[in-house]
């Protein structure tokens, strides 16, 4: 009986009202901290929601590093590597060439030949004198940069420039490079534009 009385006397008068008070500071701080660490975790483990990236790879770059290196993909990667360390210094990483240094390779008629005989001769012998590339005459010298490269590396890099930057031409095989290298012999002389044009494509 007394309990009932007590509860009656303690009952709130009327409908409770909602107070609009700011959330305590500590809740805001904890929430933001959790969001921050959640964001960090997502960034390092989420693979940016790439459907191809599963654990344990974490990111597309890491997955790429574990692709077995052989076959066509490996040759392309090797070609790019050689290009950037040997050819790209003058011809540019994008193959657009540099005025006064080297003509463009992207869209160049000397790169997009039907066969690869002419193209393989250029790095193996070098060039001297005037050469018209994409309607512009370049009066420069190119050393025989390909002599120091192995057949496989030279074939890979030539394939790379025949298939990159919008270029679409056939690939160059190490065997062809080997054959042409043997035909040129030990003392390569730089080619002039006329000599180059006389070579079969």
């Amino acid at each position: 009986m007394s309990d009932e009385n007590k509860s009656c006397s303690n009952a709130p008068q009327g409908e409770p009202t909602l107070n609009r008070s700011a959330a305590p500071m500590w809740i805001i701080v904890v929430t933001l901290t959790l969001l921050f660490f959640g964001g960090l975790y997502l960034d390092s483990h989420g693979g940016w929601f790439n459907a191809k990236v599963y654990t344990p790879y974490n990111s597309a770059e890491r997955l790429e590093a574990f692709q077995p290196q052989s076959g066509a993909a490996a040759a392309a990667a090797q070609g790019k590597r050689v290009y950037e360390s040997v050819c790209g210094i003058c011809h540019g990483a994008d193959g657009a060439g540099k005025p006064g240094q080297a003509p463009p390779l992207a869209g160049s008629e000397w790169v997009l030949t039907k066969g690869d005989n002419r193209l393989v001769h250029i790095p193996l012998q070098g060039l001297a004198g005037a050469l018209s590339v994409k309607g512009q005459t370049w009066n420069l010298n190119m050393a025989a940069m390909g002599v120091a490269l192995s057949d496989a590396d030279l074939a890979a890099v030539l394939t790379y420039l025949r298939t990159s930057w919008g270029n679409k031409a056939g690939e160059v095989t190490p065997d062809e490079v080997k054959k042409i290298r043997a035909a040129i012999g030990g003392q390569p002389q730089p080619l002039s534009g006329d000599q180059l044009t006389k070579l079969p494509e």
Partner: protein
Amino acid sequence: MKTGFAVFLAALVALGASWFGFVYGSLAQLGGQKQTVVLQSTDNWPPQRTGEATLGLQIYREYGCAACHTEQIRQTDAANEVSLLSLGDHKPQEFRDFIQSMMIVPELMPASNCIVGNLETWNGDVPVTLYSGDDSTVVSTLAAKLKSVGVKSDARVVALGADIQRGWGTRRSVAADYLYDQPVQLGNLRAGPDLTLIGVREPDVNWQLEHLYAPRSTVKNSTMPAFRALFEVRKKTGGLASSGALVLPPEFAPAGDLEVVPTAEARELAAYLVSLKANVPLYEAPFTPVTTAK
């Protein structure tokens, strides 16, 4: 209730956010699965199952196989590895010196300790793993250097993890593996082994049938119950066994003039089991397959 609309909105936002995260997000990410190409080949993955194997999935489901078997391989890490296959005409000590001398190559610097460490207690036996780690440039540089001195080496990508170590899989399972599974029988308890590769481990349909009828006849310590309901035990016609009857060891064969013939359901289930062979490398789960022909 004065705040009814606010409560409704708050509930909508909370449920909508989780719907977006769990349902829509996953669908947008993985919903468009298609056949993919097997790495370094022109084969498509996964292959479409035969009709019998497709029906078998429903038998697998009906008998609750997924209660004790999983179809998912976990992978904890991956490694790029270079192992030495043969020394050619080099002596082990000479080769060790050669390796030491190579450690000044910039690409090999980060892996120096690992490679030299692997050769410290080496007595000349091949194959030996020279390097195992993350860096693919180390692998290609090392392989090229070894090739140039006439030493035979092998560069490979290996998937690591307990499931892979015990031979249940060769790589982690990915969404594409389940493209033709409806419903997907992932399973979450391993009272029995994982079945992702059962079609590679036991490719013989008759082995599967025998195992279903009398598990202990093929796997000595199997805890699997015998699925006798999938088989018909009947009298031999004219004392001769039917062509489809199981050939069982005497202690498991029924006594007397009886034969065990698998029903259509049993054949479908066995066809499904031998179709489980997710052992090909994919872009999203790469590894170098072991080739026996060399």
